[in-house]
């Protein structure tokens, strides 16, 4: 514009920081549209540089400024456009402020004095640049908007927009069926939003999908920085009061129904991916089906792939179906069945030749500059590593492939590599489990190789065992796999089976509800008052036997009572989002003073193991892991690991990342644990099972500290936001050497896999977003204080017992001949499954010596029966059969003590030297007296434990915390003290073996109709229990679990020969007693010191005194012919008197 460009030799320099700062004073003040220091401000100055360069270049070229108009000869209308072209005329924005005007006008009446001050020319230059910058930003943003709208229009579902809205308006249930790429998941919720529907919930089977969909949809609905669209998953939510559309997991919606039966908070429910037929989804559909009757205004939309649509429509009374074509490019299908000589036999490894031929074929047929990657589906990890190895050799040789495995036990960083880009001329070969069928979507795949196999988890209710078996896939999965080749362009699918095989495949995969244990489902149904699970209308009902097994199991676990109703512990377990056994552990842990370690263990057992399989072979990792290992069992190793990690987090913050890497730990799992742990604690608190500690002046601290924390939090929030902004940016380019240290093992990704795409670049950025989130959520010092204390050996013993009780009946017995076997061949037996082995990841697989039994001297019970006081059992979390049945996550426990304290059924002979536990374990005790003492102690401990536990649970049921009568701390301390003493110091020689099949047939004496009931009132010993003849086993049923004298070798109940002299340590009793009489005496006779009720124990004292009074009863003595009020022991004494006379 100005022709005489700055000829004056003033020292105005645009590159000078000072000069720019002066401009900032004029244009980018605190009150201006763009503020100095903001990101736009930075962008402006870099734009300014480009703009100046551009103008300079233009000037040098010399602008042609011809008058372009032909003097308006043709058109009658004069638009009145300026004669001379100026780019500024194309900008519809202007900037003016008084400051600016003044400066621009100053030159007229005042000449410049200080050369460092900007003159009007400079101000004008800057203003012009600003106008162009504003115009540029507008264009940029509008470009994004118009691209977005264009893409939305292109989606196949777009043309059905009005139809969908209309259907939803008119029908309570609508099924939208469309294949991959039709856009249903992102668009349908938006169509409903823009049609005026509000309070929409859309469920997803996977957590990760909730986050990514919420992100995408909020972007598309131009609410990226608002919270109209949000997500809610287990530990995270972005929901606010104004959220109109929420993406959440199926499980979470079910939990919401549990809290609010009619789900008034929602107007529209969308259940996505119903065809995947997950357990939760099937159940959710059933619940919603009955909910619709109570909520005629509720709208339900089911979204599915075009699979089995009729099933869903019919289930909801022939709901209308809208079918949308997918957007797939044509895919050529090539059937290439594996020739018989290359078929692997059962035990053999996969033959890689058929797979290699395909790689070669692709290299021959397609020029390397034509892009397109290969996705290969195999059944499990072992298969993947076999093929990976062979392909790697080929890849190294040809340098045209990068081989990448993909399965759920890989670290997240390794999983994420499949999204990176291969260099030019090189293809990715991704060898995956069925994880890539639905959960993980990889763009750029052109070739698919389908082995036709999948490993699926099934549940064997008889052995209470999970089984991972290989099956042919269904036609639906087969099509899904094929479809992965046609997402970004035409593709090829090689099927390694014959077309006739394909035709013989099942149409659909077996729904999860038919494959898995239904324990948690039934528990949840009970807590939602859905009536008899057998009569619930499922879309595809599970086998009745499967439901029955679950009910029986829950009854065994004490979650259901005999009538199938929820017990108080059951009600609590139903609210914990974990397995029943782990829930039980938490409840037990809250009773004793072991909450912190139990929380950690429960959390650790609920997530995938943080120990990466691939690092196990790495000697450096193994050495670094060594100090974390505990010989007590895997849960203790996990506990040590977690505690050590928290310590590192406290000391070094994000340095923990490196610490984890050195030990082959997936840090993500530890973050999951810390979150889960906190959720558990909050749940227990909300049920008053844990005292809420924050009532006592929340870290009163000084004000300065609090302010410091506040500032810190603000900083962290800012970092999180910043991370969210730059998320999802560039993909990395893979290097040729990018290859895995092979992880070989078996298994497959049957359940929802939890990879997190959003963590993608995290490991490469300097900011560790996980660390930021961790710090926002947790106070590391508090956490460290809570978990940091090392367990004493007593606490350790007690913790083991709690785990064992929680995990019961999951117990395994070491085989008698293990001492003669190699380390790797140690065999174990569970009640229903013999010959199981320990998973190689367990500490007992590498260190089986700790399970060795040291024989006591004088073993005289025969070669099979070692006498020892140190027998041990393994309590385990999972029994999973792959190629062999494996136990994982094991803890070793002292056998006799643990069994006596947790077992469901305990049968004895007359002198209690032979015990049969749960009908499968036999213990023979050497010393009769010792046996009696031990048994009697155990019975007493169990009764007390039960009493306190019930009191604790009752307390949790009282509405307002603090109202209930708390469990006396003193009673608890005493109990834990005694339990520990019992666990650690019971020195009694016994043998331990599994009953042979023949023995179990002839175990019990059977009913004895003529049996005369003993004179003793055993209800005193076990309040509430009625002692009576056991109608099946024979003998006497003393408590719900203990039957005395029912074993076949039993002698007559009252035969005098069973009497042995007994002197009571507490009173002066000395007389021959039968075992039952003796136990009875021991239970009622307490040391004098204990009988003094203390002040704190006043409450308990009451129950005690009532118990004491119930000890006495009216006894009619025939000899004296008198009614006497005596305790049972006194009666005995009295009888003796007469005998002596």
């Amino acid at each position: 514009m100005d022709q005489h460009r700055r000829t004056d030799s003033r020292s105005w320099d645009w590159d000078n920081q000072h000069c720019r700062a002066q401009m900032d004073q004029i244009f980018f003040r605190e009150q201006d549209y763009i503020r100095a220091g903001s990101s736009e401000h930075r962008e402006f100055w870099s734009f300014f540089d480009r703009f100046q360069r551009f103008r300079m270049k233009k000037e040098m070229c010399g602008s042609r400024r011809e008058d372009c108009r032909d003097a308006g000869t043709k058109s009658k209308l004069d638009l009145g456009l300026p004669a001379e072209y100026d780019a500024r005329y194309r900008i519809n924005v202007s900037v003016c402020s008084r400051d600016m005007e003044e400066r621009l006008g100053r030159a007229d009446h005042r000449h410049r004095q200080r050369s460092s001050e900007p003159g009007p020319e400079e101000v004008a230059d800057c203003r012009l640049a600003l106008l162009h910058f504003l115009d540029f930003s507008q264009k940029q943003s509008f470009g994004k908007l118009s691209k977005l709208r264009r893409e939305q229009k292109c989606l196949p579902i777009f043309q059905y927009k009005d139809r969908i809205v209309e259907l939803v308006r008119r029908h309570p249930v609508v099924v939208v069926a469309g294949d991959t790429g039709c856009g249903k998941s992102t668009q349908v919720p938006q169509y409903l939003l823009s049609a005026g529907f509000n309070h929409i919930a859309c469920t997803q089977p996977r957590r990760i999908a909730c986050i990514s969909l919420a992100k995408r949809v909020s972007f598309e609905s131009l609410n990226q920085y608002g919270s109209k669209v949000g997500y809610q998953i287990r530990f995270e939510t972005s929901r606010t009061a104004i959220t109109k559309l929420i993406f959440l997991t199926e499980g979470l919606l079910l939990r919401q129904i549990q809290l609010e039966k009619t789900l008034e908070q929602y107007q529209v429910l969308i259940v996505d991916e119903v065809h995947e037929r997950h357990l939760h989804c099937d159940f959710l559909l059933g619940v919603l089906r009955s909910l619709l009757a109570d909520r005629p205004d509720l709208r339900l939309i089911l979204m599915s792939a075009t699979i089995n649509i009729k099933l869903f429509s019919n289930y909801f009374g022939s709901a209308p179906v809208l079918q949308v074509p997918g957007r797939l490019f044509p895919i050529q299908v090539i059937y290439q069945p594996i020739p018989s000589e290359e078929q692997p036999s059962r035990s053999e490894k996969l033959d890689p030749r058929p797979y290699l031929r395909i790689l070669q074929g692709i290299d021959q047929r397609y020029p390397p500059e034509e892009r397109g990657d290969l996705l290969l589906f195999l059944s499990g990890m072992a298969e993947i590593s076999t093929i990976q190895e062979a392909c790697q050799v080929y890849a190294t040789h040809t340098r045209r492939w990068i081989i990448l495995p993909l399965h759920s036990t890989l670290s997240i960083a390794q999983q994420d590599k499949v999204f990176d880009i291969s260099p030019v001329g090189v293809r990715k070969c991704i060898i995956s489990t069925n994880i890539a069928e639905t959960s993980v979507t990889i763009d750029g795949v052109r070739f698919v190789v389908d082995s036709g196999k999948v490993k699926e988890m099934s549940f064997d209710p008889k052995a209470k065992m999970q089984r991972l078996q290989e099956f042919w896939i269904s036609r639906a999965s087969s099509e899904q796999r094929k479809g992965r080749a046609g997402r970004t362009g035409p593709g090829v699918c090689y099927r390694l089976y014959a077309e006739s095989d394909y035709d013989a495949f099942a149409s659909y995969p077996v729904p999860e509800i038919h494959r898995v244990a239904l324990d948690s489902l039934i528990l949840q149904m009970k807590s939602m008052n859905l009536g008899d699970p057998l009569s619930f209308v499922f879309i595809d009902p599970p086998p009745a036997a499967s439901i029955q097994t679950a009910v029986t199991y829950l009854r065994q676990q004490g979650a259901l009572d005999a009538r199938g109703e929820l017990t108080s512990i059951g009600r609590l377990l139903a609210q914990l989002p974990v397995d029943v056994v782990i829930g039980k552990m938490l409840v037990l842990g809250s009773l004793f003073n072991l909450l912190e370690p139990v929380l950690t263990v429960a959390a650790a057992l609920s997530v995938q193991s943080p120990f990466l399989r691939s690092s196990q072979q790495n000697p450096d990792c193994a050495t670094a892991r060594q100090p974390l290992q505990s010989s007590h069992g895997d849960p203790f190793t996990l506990l040590n690991t977690f505690n050590a990690w928290v310590e590192v987090k406290k000391e070094r913050g994000s340095g923990s990342r490196k610490w984890c890497r050195r030990r082959g730990l997936e840090e993500q799992r530890l973050y999951e644990m810390v979150n889960l742990r906190r959720q558990f604690k909050e749940l227990l608190k909300s049920h008053s099972l844990v005292e809420s500690e924050d009532s006592g002046a929340p870290s009163a601290g000084d004000r300065g500290q609090r302010r410091e924390r506040l500032t810190e939090r603000r900083r962290l929030h800012q970092m999180k936001r910043q991370h969210e902004l730059q998320e999802g940016s560039k993909r990395k380019v893979l290097r040729m050497e990018e290859n895995q240290d092979g992880a070989s093992s078996s298994g497959s990704d049957t359940e929802g896999t939890r990879r997190k795409r959003k963590d993608k670049d995290q490991s490469r950025q300097s900011m560790d977003i996980q660390e930021v989130k961790f710090k926002l959520r947790h106070n590391v010092s508090e956490l460290q204080e809570a978990v940091g204390q090392e367990l004493t050996s007593r606490q350790q013993a007690l913790l083991k017992l709690l785990l064992c009780r929680g995990l019961y009946p999951q117990l395994a017995l070491p085989d008698t001949h293990n001492s003669t076997r190699k380390d790797s061949e140690q065999v174990f037996h569970t009640k229903n499954k013999q010959g199981v082995v320990i998973h190689p990841t367990s500490v007992f697989a590498s260190d089986p010596e700790v399970l060795q039994v040291f024989e006591d001297d004088g073993g005289e019970m025969g070669p099979e029966k070692k006498l020892s006081s140190k027998h041990q059992l393994l309590s385990f979390v999972t029994l999973l059969e792959t190629n062999r049945p494996y136990l994982s996550n094991c803890v070793r426990v002292p056998a006799l003590q643990a069994l006596l304290l947790v077992c469901d059924s305990l049968d004895t002979n007359a002198d209690c030297t032979r015990l049969v536990v749960d009908g499968w374990l036999e213990l023979q005790l050497k010393e009769q007296n010792e046996a009696l003492k031990t048994l009697s102690t155990a019975l007493g401990l169990r009764a007390e434990w039960e009493r306190l536990l019930l009191a604790q649970l009752r307390q949790s049921e009282v509405e307002e915390p603090g109202q209930g009568q708390g469990v006396s701390r003193r009673a608890l301390e005493k109990l834990s003290e005694e339990l520990v003493r019992f666990l650690l110091y019971t020195e009694i020689s016994y043998s331990l073996q599994r009953l042979a099949a023949m023995q179990t047939l002839n175990l019990y004496v059977g009913p004895q109709p003529d049996l005369e009931l003993p004179a003793l009132d055993l209800s005193v010993l076990f309040p509430g229990a009625e002692v009576k003849a056991d109608p099946v086993k024979g003998g006497l049923r003393v408590t719900s679990f203990f039957t005395y004298n029912c074993l076949t070798d039993s002698k007559d109940l009252y035969s005098e020969c069973l009497r042995t002299f007994f002197s009571c340590p507490h009173c002066d009793l000395y007389m021959p007693l039968t075992p039952l009489e003796r136990m009875h005496h021991e239970a009622s006779c307490r040391p004098a010191s204990e009988l003094q009720p203390t002040e704190e124990d006043a409450e308990r004292g009451k129950t005690k005194s009532s118990a004491a009074s119930s000890l006495t009863r009216v006894y009619h003595c025939d000899v004296c012919n008198e009614d006497l009020t005596l305790t049972s022991t006194e009666i005995l004494k009295h009888k003796r008197q007469h005998m002596a006379v």
Binding site: Y33, L81, N92, S94, V95, C96, G196, T240
Partner: protein, 117 residues
């Protein structure tokens, strides 16, 4: 987070040429909180959805100064040169526009043609 829980129903701006449609929050020359910035025509304006800053605005479109057609600011639909012209009017009166614009439009026409063929 938005300030209001009960926001009024969205007013929609729709381009009469390409059909692009999006809610707008302001119509005129002085959108709120734009300080020294003034628009030189009456525009349909919304908050810039791609900026985390609440005060950034985005012009969606305006009306053609000749035929009063409602058009978006996309270069396919309209052009601003001291005034807003819809593409139809621009083509009708192309000769009145400076050469720079004429050549630019011609070039664009060419490139879209080759892209299509």
């Amino acid at each position: 987070m938005d300030q209001t829980t009960n926001d009024p129903p969205d007013q929609m701006f729709t381009c009469q040429l390409c059909g692009l449609s999006s809610p707008f929050t302001y119509y005129g020359q002085k959108p709120p909180k734009t300080r020294a910035i003034v628009l030189l025509e009456d525009c349909y304006v919304t908050k810039d959805p791609f900026s985390p800053d609440k005060e950034k605005f985005l012009v969606l479109g305006s009306t053609c100064s000749l035929c009063s057609t409602c058009v978006c600011v996309s270069p396919e639909c309209s052009l601003y040169y001291t005034k807003r012209f819809c593409m139809q009017c621009v083509n009708k009166h192309l000769e009145q526009f400076p050469l720079q614009i004429q050549t630019e439009l011609a070039k664009k026409k060419q490139s879209t043609k080759t892209a299509v063929s």
